[in-house]
């Protein structure tokens, strides 16, 4: 019996060679469309500093 297994999913992130300075095959419209598509995902990465940091800033301001 052949045993099969599902490998753990790893994101095969590209090597530095992928970052060749060429976008010849992509039009500006493609890039613009892609940006519109990921804007909400980029916004989803928004995160806040801790309250302690904010409080320190406000305390510093009051001390000036």
């Amino acid at each position: 019996m052949t045993k099969t297994s599902t490998s753990k999913t790893n994101v095969n992130l590209p090597t530095q060679n992928m970052f060749q300075s060429t976008t010849d095959n992509e039009s500006d419209a493609d890039i613009d469309l892609f940006y519109d598509q990921i804007k909400s995902k980029l916004d989803g990465l928004l995160t806040n500093p801790q309250d302690e940091t904010i409080n320190r800033i406000l305390a510093y301001s009051k001390s000036k």
């Binding site: 994101v11 590209p14 992928m18 970052f19 989803g44 990465l45 995160t47 500093p49 904010i54 301001s61």
Partner: protein, 194 residues
């Protein structure tokens, strides 16, 4: 006094005249974009907190001393300060940023979204992790432009001035950043499909 209806310039004026609520509202309004930009650049939560704090100390000192240029927009101005602090840090450390997987608690794991199924939460968490990882993989100059443009809403001229390149170079870097993210996402989709 409903400060949320004040624009940034009015809040700055309010603060300069001695009302601390002006600063509090500016912080509330812009902290996530500024902090996120710093965090995605330095990839360390605690370092990002320090730089964020230092940036606002500079903001406070400049506003208090009357040196703030009223023609400038507040968010881009603070982002420039934060950006320069990040650059200063890396110069001092003389190293390129590395991905740290244990920077204290991953803030993305602390997000609580109610009325969300477990599956939806897992998918959202994975999407966040993947996109964050992909942004970290971008060349620094591309990542920088992407963050400044998207979160700080800086114009390409402002980005060019800040990073000491031409506007065309700044535009090009943005294009390459998006193109590379697109390639990475496509590669990831192909990986899932097997």
């Amino acid at each position: 006094m409903n400060l949320q209806s004040y624009n940034d310039q009015d809040l700055v004026k309010l603060y300069i005249t001695g009302n601390e609520n002006g600063l509090q509202e500016l912080l509330r309004r812009h902290k996530s974009k500024i902090y996120t930009s710093i965090y995605l650049l330095v990839k360390d939560q605690y370092l990002a907190e320090d730089i964020f704090q230092d940036a606002f100390i500079k903001v406070i000192n400049t506003l208090r001393s009357g040196r703030y240029n009223e023609e400038g927009k507040f968010l881009p101005w603070v982002m420039r300060i934060a950006h320069n602090l990040v650059i200063d840090y890396f110069r001092k450390e003389k190293r390129t940023p590395i991905i740290t997987s244990s920077d204290g608690m991953d803030v993305f794991n602390m997000l609580h979204f109610y009325d969300e199924s477990a599956e939806e939460k897992m998918l959202r968490d994975q999407t966040h992790k993947d996109l964050k990882a992909m942004i970290h993989l971008l060349p620094d100059e591309q990542k920088e432009v992407l963050l400044m443009r998207h979160y700080a809403d800086l114009s390409f001229k402002e980005i060019a001035d800040l990073t000491d390149v031409s506007i065309n170079t700044a535009l090009g870097r943005m294009r390459y950043a998006l193109s590379n993210l697109r390639k990475m996402l496509k590669t990831k989709e192909m990986t899932y499909k097997g």
